[in-house]
């Protein structure tokens, strides 16, 4: 992160303003509902033209949805569908969010700040060991705008190869699992049970949010084709009302239909088979559906997506992921052959093969 002195000064001015005018308690304000959180991101010009948050040229913003509810037992909060610790005292708010870094290690972002009407803002710090630690910074939350989009289709050209860009996703670690899902997950041993450790594709829900590999979009009549480098997966998105053929089976890649809502591509995926959602091994049921919304920047070089998994059997709150890619004409989709030999060989060497096969039922999810 590269925060210039000037930017720090601007951010400090913003904080001072809120310290001066937001010291009254939150009593009387209804802060329940959905908010959009932005961490460390680009400067925010809010209605009153005050700059909040530290502008950053080199580090992309982290964005997520914060939902606040007041219940009998106190304030409850979710970020990107996962539970977070929260403390609200008068006009002050503290939120502790667990996340996973790009290498997979778990860490926490602790947000402290003030509530002032329809704006919350403050600073955050990082806790926990990670391979590439962030530096903390500034955060702001504004009311989520209700989207009532029924815009006429305005198809955009998404063809090309898209390379993952940093930032955007909170990479929220824990999700709000149902009792059934929690019981199932308690016995999960990720380094034996994850599909990809034995060269089995983890399926579209994991692949679409994978942070390392490029994918290519091809456009043909009434169909978009996504070619993912990881696991060499192919995905067809039918841009009409085509329904799955008779007896079309549930699968890891599911069956996708897409349509344009204004400039945005919306994809609905059904017929997913039982699987795991992420590296943590939280389950996906066969009745789950995935909703994706893609938007391309005006210059055509950046693609953003918000990915929501609807699976009430397993999640009390839908998990949300966000991705950003940049167009890359300097690469191609590379081959991706996978050979599980070394996975089994390792267990053989460690005398764990029997244990592995006795756990085969763990790799079948209804």
């Amino acid at each position: 992160m590269n925060i210039t002195n000037k930017n720090i000064f601007r951010a400090a001015l913003g904080m001072l303003f809120f310290a001066a005018f937001s010291s009254f308690p939150v009593m009387g304000q209804n802060i329940e509902g959905s908010w959009m959180l932005e961490l460390n991101g680009s400067k925010q010009e809010i209605d009153n033209s005050i700059t909040i948050g530290a502008p950053s040229d080199n580090e992309a913003a982290i964005i997520g949805e914060l939902i606040l509810r007041k219940e009998e037992k106190g304030w409850q909060a979710h970020v990107e569908g996962g539970p977070v610790e929260i403390d609200i005292n008068g006009g002050k708010i503290e939120i502790l969010i667990d996340s996973r870094d790009l290498a997979g290690f778990v860490f926490f972002r602790r947000l402290n700040g003030e509530i002032s009407g329809n704006i919350m803002s403050g600073t955050f710090t990082i806790e926990g060991a990670t391979e590439n630690p962030e530096h903390g910074g500034y955060w702001v939350a504004t009311r989520k705008k209700e989207e009532n989009k029924k815009l006429p289709p305005n198809p955009q050209n998404l063809t090309g190869i898209w390379t993952p860009a940093p930032g955007v996703d909170f990479r929220k670690y824990s999700m709000d699992l149902t009792e059934k899902a929690q019981n199932w997950h308690n016995d999960y041993i990720d380094h034996y049970d994850q599909p990809n450790v034995r060269c089995v594709s983890p399926g579209i829900v994991a692949i679409v949010a994978w942070g390392a590999y490029p994918f290519e979009i091809l456009n043909s009549e009434e169909r978009l084709t996504f070619l993912y480098e990881v696991d060499s997966e192919v995905r067809r998105i039918f841009m009409n009302d085509k329904q799955p053929p008779d007896y079309y089976p549930p699968s890891a890649m599911g069956f996708s239909n897409g349509y344009w809502e204004g400039d945005e591509l919306v994809i609905e995926t059904q017929l997913l088979e039982g699987n795991v959602r992420d590296f943590r091994g939280e389950p996906i049921s066969e009745g789950a559906r995935m909703h994706e919304r893609y938007s391309i920047s005006q210059d055509g070089n950046t693609l953003d997506a918000v990915i929501t998994l609807m699976d009430p059997d397993n999640y009390n709150q839908p998990p949300i992921r966000r991705r950003k890619w940049v167009k890359n004409s300097n690469t191609e989709i590379y081959p991706y052959e996978c050979d599980p030999d070394s996975f089994y060989r390792q267990m053989y060497n460690e005398d764990k093969l029997d244990m592995y096969f006795e756990r085969s039922h763990r790799r079948q999810i209804d």
């Binding site: 290498a103 391979e131 060269c199 590379y334 991706y336 996978c338």
Partner: protein
């Protein structure tokens, strides 16, 4: 060692993005976040395939016993884009590796940095 100055620069840039490239599947799945260890040994076998490139490295420990470690980096397609090919490290090379060890005492090592025989580093700069 096949790297010229330009190639080495590319790899040094790569180290900046190494956490992205290492995110094939979660490190937390198999490796301990809190520990980092260094080993030095001879490459006995190279597995330049998915799901991870692996180098099997042998050395004799302080008790005089031979140990074989399974040293893992990223996937081939992400490495070769940066010029790290299956020819970069050869069987018989003596290398030093710094990384996160496997959980439960398993002799796995997730690479943070590899020091090549000529002293140059792959991944992050090898710690002094």
């Amino acid at each position: 060692m096949p790297f010229n100055q330009k190639q080495l620069s590319v790899l040094l840039i790569f180290l900046y993005f190494s956490s992205i490239s290492q995110a094939h599947h979660s490190f937390a799945v198999e490796f301990t976040a809190e520990k980092k260890v260094a080993i030095k040994g001879t490459v006995t076998e190279i597995w330049f395939r998915n799901p991870h490139v692996r180098y099997y490295v042998e050395f004799v420990n302080q008790q005089g016993k031979k140990e074989s470690w399974d040293v893992r980096t990223s996937s081939p397609s992400l490495l070769v884009r940066k010029g790290w090919t299956k020819e970069t490290i050869k069987v018989g090379d003596e290398i030093s590796i710094f990384g996160h060890p496997g959980r439960d005492g398993r002799k796995l090592l997730s690479v943070i940095s590899i020091k090549l025989p000529n002293g140059s580093s792959l991944g992050k700069k090898y710690p002094d």
